[in-house]
């Protein structure tokens, strides 16, 4: 694989808070990544460091084979759409497009205006007067039309309604097919993007928990439901992530692939198996088991 980004032992401290703790990974060319993790896990900080907007406390970052900080050659190939991007007070939507056209080498004006029409962005309106959804749509439009070889979307969906989100996913996939690039999507709506992302990076409390192909992850865990003794028998010797009780039955989330042997065992024990979705897997991996009782969590759902 051709690595577009490599990070080695990236650590970021804010005072005595460690936002990123010894994070190492590589991003391949022409791949869509899902950068997943809870709020405050360090996703935005990581993307800021990769785009030279923030400085790592220690560790090394290389983007297109060079450090990104203050490197125009690298940054000219990078676009970072931040959910909390600040725009100058006097800027209208049109000003944003004009400046983006001058600053991004691959900017496609026709594409940008097509997207703006799709999202019904009013060109003459001041950016500070846009609704939350329109602000997200503006960011998404800039990120797509910039066609930067390395594009980061930081929670682009905030404020977008389901139809607009679908529009974004569709346009991203269509444009990606014609103009392959490396895309990093940070998001909480994991199931929505699970068909879109090819690889998953999961960060929890500043540490990299997972760096795997999305397809591998989908078969990574199962939910086993059955009578308590049967589930105990099935779970014996396997890693159990979570267990909850539902009216006499037990539902256990178990890590590990499902070989034919496991399937046969489940059948024999009368335990029902269902694959865990990416989102459920991420929740199970990042929620500390002691924070809420299983029953509470069930009620909350």
């Amino acid at each position: 694989m051709t690595a577009v980004v490599t990070a080695h032992g990236v650590t970021k401290r804010f005072g005595d808070v460690t936002a990123l703790d010894d994070v190492s990974f590589a991003l391949a060319e022409h791949t869509i990544y899902g950068l997943l993790g809870r709020n405050g896990a360090g996703k935005t900080t990581l993307m800021q460091i990769l785009t030279g907007q923030a400085f790592a406390s220690s560790g090394n970052v290389s983007v297109f084979d060079a450090p990104p900080v203050e490197n125009p050659a690298v940054l000219s190939k990078v676009c970072f759409v931040r959910e909390s991007q600040r725009y100058p007070h006097v800027y209208t939507v049109r000003h944003v497009f004009r400046t983006a056209r001058r600053l991004f080498a691959n900017w496609d004006d026709t594409f940008a205006h097509g997207l703006a029409a799709d999202f019904q962005l009013p060109a003459g309106r001041l950016v500070r007067r846009l609704s939350r959804g329109m602000l997200s749509a503006l960011g998404v439009t800039v990120g797509l039309a910039a066609r930067a070889p390395l594009t980061f979307f930081d929670e682009p969906y905030l404020g977008l309604d389901p139809a607009a989100r679908q529009l974004f996913y569709d346009r991203l996939l269509a444009d990606y097919a014609g103009h392959p690039r490396t895309v990093v999507l940070s998001t909480h709506l994991i199931d929505e993007v699970s068909d879109l992302v090819e690889r998953v990076l999961l960060i929890d409390r500043g540490r990299l928990l997972l760096d795997e192909d999305a397809d591998d992850l989908r078969g990574r865990a199962v939910a086993a439901t059955g009578r308590a003794e049967a589930v105990d028998g099935f779970a014996a010797g396997r890693t159990e992530l979570h267990r909850e009780r539902l009216s006499g039955l037990v539902r256990s989330t178990i890590l590990g692939g499902l070989g034919p042997h496991a399937k046969a065992l489940a059948q024999a024990l009368n335990v029902e198996l269902e694959p865990l979705s990416l989102q459920q897997l991420v929740v199970r991996l990042t929620v500390p088991p002691t924070t809420t009782a299983p029953a509470d969590r069930e009620a909350a759902r």
């Binding site: 125009p72 990078v78 983006a100 001058r102």
Partner: protein
């Protein structure tokens, strides 16, 4: 250089506001000064200076600070480097200083042609430079403008690095240093020597010569601060 120019154009949407506010505030200051002069006019008074240009300097500082703090976070988000941003804003400072110098030069000509607005009010003219040649006169306007604009940018970069606390601490530090320097001069009875030194300098050196290293110092300071700034 082309890239720096493109980055500088990030300020274009703000120009109507910057120019509009700057020169309407100047117009108000001018009007108030004129009214005051009208109230007290005595044809035997000769020509009196006003602080008209000082108010322009104050406005320029504020405008530069606001411009830096407003546009830097956006520029960073558009994959612009801090270096490119600083050089672009420094270029804007040069352009603005030259344009303002030309405007002031013209207004000074009007001022002199109208007999100092008919009532001996020197608002746009530079003191001591009545007989300077046009080039020196333009420099006398442009270089101090360059100094104050870079001071405004410096204050903006202080804000980017450490927020309002940074600006206030910076100003406190500057006033403390200047105050201590003044006390030291008084203590060592050096005011007379300094006064003599100032009198020995030509007006050109005072307006267009010595301010150059000051502008350079502000520029170096702002550049160093912004290189570690985050949005």
């Amino acid at each position: 250089m082309n890239r720096i120019r493109q980055v500088a154009r990030l300020q274009m949407p703000a120009w109507p506001q910057i120019l509009g506010w700057t020169w309407s505030m100047m117009a108000v200051t001018f009007g108030i000064n004129l009214l005051t002069f009208m109230a007290n006019y005595d044809p035997g008074d000769g020509v009196t200076n006003t602080g008209g240009l000082v108010s322009l300097c104050g406005i320029a500082i504020g405008m530069a600070t606001v411009s830096v703090t407003q546009i830097f976070p956006y520029a960073l988000g558009m994959s612009v480097t801090r270096r490119e941003f600083y050089l672009a804003w420094s270029l804007l400072a040069v352009v603005q200083s030259v344009v303002y110098a030309l405007v002031l030069y013209l207004l000074r000509a009007v001022e002199q042609a109208t007999g100092y607005w008919g009532m001996g009010m020197r608002f746009f003219g530079l003191p001591f430079m009545d007989d300077a040649n046009p080039v020196l006169l333009l420099l006398g306007y442009a270089v101090p403008m360059l100094v104050v604009t870079h001071l405004g940018i410096l204050l903006g970069t202080l804000y980017l690095r450490w927020g309002a606390t940074g600006v206030l601490a910076g100003l406190t530090l500057a006033f403390t240093a200047l105050g201590l320097a003044a006390a030291l001069i008084t203590w060592t009875r050096q005011w007379h020597a300094i006064g003599r030194w100032l009198l020995d300098q030509s007006p050109t050196a005072l307006l267009a010569g010595w301010p150059v290293p000051v502008a350079a110092a502000f520029a170096v300071g702002g550049y160093r601060l912004i290189r570690r700034a985050t949005a």
